[in-house]
């Protein structure tokens, strides 16, 4: 294992009964890098994300995380309080459906401020200022800070979720189909936004998507999964322009050319 990796997985294996979800999966993530995991439905992408983020335990294999003080942690052997603290501060999770992550009965400002308050912020004015600043960063009108999320459109909800996740400046963000279920113009704008934020804040991200265009736009490196196995991995452009594995070739050729 290289000395510089942020997150490192070795030999992850997990099956649901007879169905293999992960078969001996290795993965490495360096600081500031975006890694895309692509594949069709049921190929184990989301399971991999859940296992990497410690939300689901593998049957075998290990996930190492290097904290800011350069100490290595075995994610699945970490005590529950430490893992929960990690998820609140250093890590973030962006769900496909923003309603899973947001509190729909709490104002946009409250939603963005929750992680700050969980972190110990006890100054209303500062929390609000931060919230407004972040709403602006994700291109939501600052005047909507007191509105409830249920008055927001789908694309705004997803941007609000991103603001809520990034407000504590996490070093590592897990994204599960962040642009899924949005129409194409909203998707493009969101992708642009995510790309800008990730680059500016130097955030490392593991991005699960079935959309090769999303991977092409956002990711530095790509892993192609099929039936729980990583069939091909490498630099995004390299893999997509010159796919070696037959399944990757199939994926790339199946994308409609506009």
């Amino acid at each position: 294992m290289s000395d510089e990796t942020l997150l490192s997985a070795r030999g992850l294996t997990l099956s649901f009964g007879a169905i293999p979800a992960l078969v001996d999966v290795d993965a490495d993530l360096w600081p500031g890098e975006v890694l895309a995991v692509v594949g069709e439905s049921g190929s184990g992408k989301s399971t991999l994300l859940n296992v990497l983020s410690g939300r689901m335990a593998p049957q075998s294999g290990v996930v190492w995380y290097r904290d800011p003080a350069r100490h290595l942690h075995d994610v699945h052997a970490m005590p529950q309080p430490a893992l929960r603290a990690l998820h609140r501060s250093d890590w973030g999770f962006v769900h496909q459906n923003p309603r899973e992550n947001l509190r729909m009965g709490v104002s946009a400002g409250g939603n963005v401020g929750e992680r700050l308050m969980a972190h110990g912020s006890r100054h209303y004015g500062q929390i609000r200022e931060h919230a407004i600043d972040w709403l602006e960063q994700v291109e939501i009108d600052a005047r909507r800070v007191d509105d409830l999320p249920r008055t927001f459109s789908g694309g705004m909800l997803q941007r609000l979720q991103i603001a809520r996740t990034l407000v504590t400046h996490p070093r590592l963000v897990f994204m599960d189909e962040p642009t899924g279920g949005l129409d194409v113009s909203v998707q493009a704008r969101l992708l642009d936004l995510i790309r800008g934020l990730v680059r500016r804040l130097n955030i490392a991200a593991v991005l699960v998507t079935h959309d090769l265009a999303v991977a092409r736009l956002l990711a530095h490196r790509i892993m192609v999964m099929q039936r729980g196995r990583v069939v091909e991995s490498g630099l995004t452009d390299q893999v997509l322009d010159d796919p070696q594995h037959e399944y990757t070739q199939l994926l790339v050729s199946s994308v409609l050319q506009a």
């Binding site: 709490v106 104002s107 929750e114 100054h123 209303y124 004015g125 007191d146």
Partner: protein, 290 residues
């Protein structure tokens, strides 16, 4: 005083039950603000009338104790009179309405105005012991939130209140941090009474009968009402003085006196009001009556 009823154990509950409750109480005192489960018994009064408080009182009551029971500050309401008479009959203990004379005070929704002493115990009746219950419905989740001291959610509620109303709108059962560790529901006492819990010399015990939880604040323990640095906790009280005794520092009840909009404000703590009147303090209403 009526003579003790025969056929009942001292203070109604059997000794094994009292021991079980005392074990829960000891644990509760050892971990201030932590909710300890206990085997709550059926009591001869309905849930919501103080089944938790009455069991705690029964467990701590001794033959030499002097009992005072208040309901919303008053000694003379049905609930207070019934519970006082209950222990008068089943334990034969002396009862009183004077805060200063009592050694055990069972209360519903108030803390007496008269400062409590080290040799006194105050027992609160608690309907809902879980301060996070309205924000997180899963008890398994709130338990782990308490275990890991993850109380950001409670501040989200305060944040929302300030955003919507400009101030925290919780007027009773205002959440407190006990000993800088556990978030605790102080039972539905007015936020006005919250500062009295801080560093109180008396032992504070809380019993929730229906929810089967006991918790406690030992004497001289830090109890801090939640707030923001730039929106500090403030108590509110009706901007009047007591119509009967003229007190301008006590918590007031608004009493409607007729159907023409007539109303008066008077101390909710009846003992405090009576003591003041006995000392010669006269309020505007009482003065007009003379």
């Amino acid at each position: 005083m009526t003579s003790p009823a025969t056929g009942y154990n001292f203070a109604y509950l059997d000794e094994q039950t009292k021991r079980m409750i005392r074990r829960a109480l000891l644990k509760a005192v050892a971990i201030p603000g932590h909710q300890v489960p206990f085997g709550s018994r059926e009591m001869p009064l309905p849930y919501g009338w103080g089944t938790g408080g009455i069991q705690v009182t029964a467990a701590v009551l001794g033959q030499q104790d002097v009992l005072k029971v208040i309901d919303q500050g008053a000694d003379d309401t049905t609930n207070a009179v019934s519970i006082r008479r209950f222990f008068g009959r089943t334990a034969g203990v002396r009862t009183t309405t004077h805060t200063g004379e009592a050694t055990v005070i069972q209360t519903r929704h108030r803390i007496p105005e008269h400062a409590l002493r080290e040799d006194q115990i105050i027992v609160y009746q608690v309907p809902q012991p879980e301060p996070l219950s309205k924000l997180e419905s899963s008890r398994a989740e709130t338990r782990s939130m308490h275990g890991l001291a993850e109380y950001g959610l409670m501040h989200v509620k305060l944040y929302e209140d300030i955003t919507r109303y400009g101030h925290v709108s919780i007027s009773y059962d205002y959440p407190v941090m006990v000993n800088r560790r556990y978030l605790m529901a102080p039972s539905p006492i007015p936020a006005f009474d919250n500062p009295k819990m801080h560093m109180m010399p008396a032992l504070q015990l809380f019993g929730a009968g229906r929810e089967k939880r006991i918790y406690a604040v030992p004497p001289y323990t830090e109890v801090k009402s939640l707030d923001f640095d730039d929106h500090p906790f403030r108590t509110t009280r009706a901007p009047h003085c007591c119509a009967l005794c003229g007190a301008d520092d006590s918590y007031l009840d608004e009493v409607v006196t007729d159907d023409k909009g007539g109303r008066m404000f008077m101390c909710s703590d009846t003992d405090y009001c009576e003591t003041r009147r006995a000392q010669g303090h006269v309020g505007p209403e009482a003065m007009a009556a003379e």
